[in-house]
């Protein structure tokens, strides 16, 4: 009998795992169970739906036909529980299904801070397409909005609401934007751009209560006792892996579902990947949680191959994300921690990696020209991290150099000179070290 693979979760990790299983095992029966009724879509693209850069239809990136061609069954349903002994998945609203191998790729959900009024109509988070639709619907009627939180999603929400024509106020608990990852100059660059886009900023303020009227948001109360009226409150204080199914099934969990480097959980034949997984890196002996689209795809592919019988240990590359914050394309690679405190996040944010906050014994080199900014974090003989904002010409070579673990001893002295011209030095590193392999 053909092996039966069940994948819970229809995000990038789940969908990519299904394709990887099919590529490895032509006879497998593959079923994806997902809670959303819509076709596969780009979750990071929701930010651009809010800003109007792409219509909703443009987000559906993998047509249902692609799954049908690969003989992957997509089922809409909510999983009630997993019976790891009988190898069965029970659905809330349909018949259960047996599995030989199971993948949990259920992702993470936005955390709602524990303040009075947080459940009022008009408090929004941005997890999925339904949330984005709700925000657009509410924004049509709203005159003003407040945004709280940190990281990429908070800024995306602020920019999205402003683009929808809502007067938007971004409230930060900290003294500057995303201080755990960005340095002072970078935070200022983003904040200046937000102000240019008409967004009001406040620092050092904390929402202690959401003020309601007739069950709807009417404003927020700050720690100072003052109130700020608004019709909408957008919250992005971090995400929480969806661990309920795993815990109920008795799987070992930490911040995420604990797996080995082959994505196998503490139970035989049950795997986990993507935002929900806390995956072991054999090289360092440590586990980490990432919330990055590219990592979810890489993990999904490797998890699928392992499930189908190949041996594909996951090698964790230097965490990389490219995003647009404050209208600036921004690449963050490796350990760039500036030592600041992330006062606006209670946990990891979406599009974020723990690895970025790592602070090594390192020296920062900053090169700035207008709205373009490059920061290199130099270790003894390696570039351990980099932030590139604006012009991205240097981000590709840096990506190769950092991920390729290239020795910089020969040019380190030149790199740290105040007048250093980084471009030719980075090119030299690329050429000299043969860092031309795959990214």
């Amino acid at each position: 009998m053909a092996p039966r693979y069940v994948i819970v979760g229809n995000g990038p990790a789940g969908a990519t795992a299904a394709q990887a299983i099919r590529a490895t095992d032509a006879s497998a029966e593959i079923t994806i169970v997902g809670a959303e009724k819509v076709p596969f879509y780009s979750r990071p693209g929701l930010a651009y739906l809010l800003t109007g850069l792409v219509p909703e239809g443009g987000l559906f990136s993998r047509p249902d036909g692609d799954f049908e061609t690969a003989r992957i069954t997509r089922t809409v349903g909510h999983v009630a529980r997993i019976d790891v002994v009988d190898h069965r998945v029970a659905l809330v609203d349909g018949p259960g299904m047996p599995y030989d191998r199971l993948l949990l790729a259920v992702g993470a959900r936005a955390v709602r801070p524990d303040v009075p009024g947080i459940d009022l109509e008009g408090v929004v988070t941005l997890d999925n397409l339904e949330d984005a639709r709700r925000i657009i619907r509410l924004a049509r009627k709203a005159r003003s909005a407040c945004v709280v939180g940190g990281g990429i999603t908070a800024v995306e929400l602020a920019e999205g609401l402003a683009a929808q024509g809502v007067s938007t106020h971004y409230l930060m608990r900290g003294e500057r934007y995303w201080s755990g990852v960005l340095d002072q100059g970078e935070s200022r660059l983003v904040e200046d751009r937000l102000v240019e886009h008409g967004i009001h900023l406040s620092h050092g303020v904390q929402v202690v209560r959401v003020v309601g009227r007739k069950g709807r948001v009417a404003g927020v109360e700050l720690q100072t006792g003052s109130q700020l009226p608004c019709d909408l409150l957008a919250v992005a204080v971090g995400i929480q892996p969806r661990l309920e199914l795993a815990r109920a099934a008795g799987l070992e969990t930490g911040r995420g579902i604990l797996t080995d480097s082959r994505f196998l959980t503490s139970e035989p034949d049950v795997f986990a990947a993507g935002d929900v997984a806390e995956v072991l890196d054999d090289a360092t002996g440590t586990r980490a949680v990432d919330s990055l689209w590219s990592v979810a795809i890489e993990q999904g592919r490797a998890a699928g191959e392992n499930m189908a019988g190949l041996d594909r240990p996951y090698v964790r590359p230097a965490a990389l994300n490219v995003t647009r914050i404050g209208g600036l394309t921004t690449t963050i690679i490796g350990a760039v921690g500036s030592g600041g405190r992330d006062d606006d996040l209670v946990t990891l944010a979406r599009g974020d990696s723990d690895a970025w906050r790592q602070q090594l014994d390192a020296f920062a080199v900053v090169s700035e020209a207008g709205a373009n900014h490059v920061r290199l974090v130099l270790g003894e003989d390696r570039i351990v991290g980099a932030v590139v904002m604006g012009d991205q010409a240097m981000s590709r070579p840096l990506q190769r150099i950092i991920r390729g673990d290239v020795d910089i001893t020969g040019v380190r002295e030149l790199l740290v000179r105040p007048e250093a011209d980084l471009a030719p030095l980075l090119t030299r590193l690329m050429d000299g070290a043969g860092a031309n392999g795959p990214l």
């Binding site: 792409v54 219509p55 987000l59 990136s61 490219v322 995003t323 647009r324 394309t329």
Partner: protein, 91 residues
């Protein structure tokens, strides 16, 4: 002055006809802005996420997708096979 402008324009056109759009899939989040803005309706995203070049005969190399991608996935790369000096007899 005019000479210089014409030369710059010629260089730009030459770059456009001799280049193809290539993609770095590790940066792509499948948002679809590239496909949405392609004037010829080429499914740029599908190629980008698989790391394939946009080598369609229809591609105008107009650069809309390259300019609008919010994540720096797409860029122009010289395609020797389309070198105008060699294939079109340009100067």
């Amino acid at each position: 002055m005019l000479d210089r402008l014409l030369q710059r324009d010629r260089a730009k056109r030459r770059a456009m006809i001799s280049a193809i759009v290539v993609a770095e899939p590790g940066r792509c989040v499948e948002c679809g802005i590239c496909s949405y803005n392609c004037p010829l309706g080429i499914d740029v995203r599908s190629k980008a996420r698989h790391g394939l070049p946009v080598a369609d005969a229809y591609c105008l190399t107009c650069g809309e997708c390259v300019a609008r991608c919010p994540r720096g996935v797409l860029r122009f790369e010289q395609a020797p096979v389309f070198d105008p000096d060699k294939t079109l007899g340009g100067q």
